[in-house]
Symmetry: C2
Subunit: 289 residues, 2 copies
DNA sequence: CACTATTTCCTGTATATACAACAGATCCGA
DNA sequence: TCGGATCTGTTGTATATACAGGAAATAGTG
């Protein structure tokens, strides 16, 4: 009963299979889309294949990322995708509707669906590794780990993170550099309950962000920005003088209902800006979906 | 044919009506939900009532805003709302799914749907009026219009806004104050094609944001933040000395494919932070929905 | 040729139905 | 009383179907 979960004969590749059965009045026409190959993926605790609409989303995203679908190109119509993928139009519709809500596609009624133009970097709206950001810009990434230890958490921070005062917390201070120039100082407090092995990582190989993201998906993020003249020890590490302002990005992340990390990122004002582009949703004072 | 568009007998109020007809094989059971009263609303060029799933969203949002539904409260189940509102479950499902994607509701499979806790201010992710922000905090808003005129647009800005160099552009500089203390300096360039009457507005009565939002919905926003020591004329207007850093928020907005405004907002570093909270969507390096 | 009406293709919305997955309550027997 | 099976209510996904409405191509007409 239920779904027929065929396994791909071609496990190394992403593939959609369809197998439509005839239907009677109380039996569905059954269709199976192959699940994405999950071996080696983080978050593999999720059992079973992704739901079909998610598979359709992944299918389209992968075609965009592979370069097969370029910016501004028209993609197949919903009905064409129904034929190609062997799913119903409502399923395709949900996938494409969500993707266009996420800014990946644009739709025009009566005309078609188009690949949206690439949006610029949006460090304000994302959580991504500074290393990959530098690499994508063609820079040379390096880092300097100035601190990595267990501490007793101070009461104010404990309150904010929802843990016991003076219990253990992990603290790291890392200076990230592009071509040897300090670009960011990352001052992180990590909840041991979420990342018990944080101190054991080789953070020069895998960045804290990559490591933390690999443990569990972040369920919520809060970003607050501020302009300050930082303390002298920060000025020294970033090689800036006392007249140069700093942009500080405070980030707090949650995994489920627990606070996972609370960090501050200091950017030398003269060397960095942070941005993001988004589409406001449409009620009252306009907000991100 | 098609929908029966009943008018509300109670036009001053938001109301859901249901009128279910019997169905035959090729005729729908018809249901009508009253459209939101549109008289006096901006964007009234949209003809016809909102689609039903949007009406359901508005219905729930209005109940949250009115205080009837408080934070953490469980709301009606989908099937209950189907009965109450006279729409199908898929329609209710879409409405609630989108609301939970927007962070207004939380859903737990097998348990129910709950009103999400109020998220803090998110000036990073929204476009809202500084006046209403100050009023909500209980402050006393006032402003000082330092400039409001038509100028010839410089080539670099013209390029960025996609208009002819040295053509006309509107330029305003306004200092916003809370209890007489300067909180923000707004330096705005407005595309005359979008807001031809910008210069005629009484911007001390209606804030530029409110006015611009009333003209047309913003289709896209870009925010970039930066820390600077501002020019002396800005320091003077904000009453800060030359050692105090400033947070600058650069905002660019689009209406359709045209750039509508390009603005810079200066916040005294010691008096303001800007923040936003969001839920990352779940692909690759995590981004806003 | 120019202009209009029709057709066709596309997305947008709405519904009814069916089943899956999950959580909590309830029942029941050892 | 305990522990498991069963039931019930809830959300999550998938499908078939139908119609509305926009845009562009096409046919038809003067």
């Amino acid at each position: 009963m239920g779904f027929c979960r065929a396994l791909s004969p071609n496990p190394g590749r992403w593939e959609l299979l369809s197998a439509v059965f005839h239907r009677t009045d109380d039996f569905y026409g059954e269709v199976e889309i192959m699940a994405k190959k999950t071996a080696g993926l983080a978050g593999a605790d999720k059992i079973g294949p992704l739901p079909r609409y998610r598979q359709v989303k992944e299918y389209i995203l992968s075609r965009i990322e592979s370069g097969e679908l370029r910016t501004e190109m028209k993609i197949e119509s919903e009905n064409r995708l129904v034929e190609l993928l062997g799913v119903s139009r409502m399923t395709v519709n949900r996938a494409i509707r969500e993707l266009s809500g996420e800014g990946k596609l644009n739709r025009i009624q009566g005309v078609g669906t188009f690949v949206a133009s690439q949006k610029p970097q949006s460090a304000l709206l994302e959580v991504r590794s500074i290393a990959s950001e530098i690499n994508e810009r063609g820079g040379v990434y390096s880092c300097d780990i100035r601190l990595l230890e267990e501490e007793k958490v101070k009461p104010s921070l404990a309150l904010s993170m929802g843990i016991q005062p003076y219990s253990a917390i992990y603290h790291s201070i890392i200076v990230h550099m592009d071509n040897g120039v300090a670009i960011q100082l990352a001052d992180r407090f990590v909840n041991p309950a979420i990342a018990p092995d944080y101190l054991l990582q080789d953070l020069s190989k895998i960045s804290p962000n990559e490591y933390l993201l690999s443990l569990a998906p972040i369920s919520e993020v809060e970003h607050v920005v501020e302009a300050v003249i930082p303390d002298s020890w920060i000025r020294k590490l970033l090689h800036i003088n006392e007249a140069e302002p700093c942009l500080v990005l405070h980030r707090k992340t949650w995994v489920g209902c627990e606070v996972a990390t609370e960090s501050s990122f200091y950017y030398p004002g003269s060397r960095y800006t942070i941005g993001g582009r988004f589409t406001p949703s449409n009620r009252g004072s306009i907000q991100v979906t």
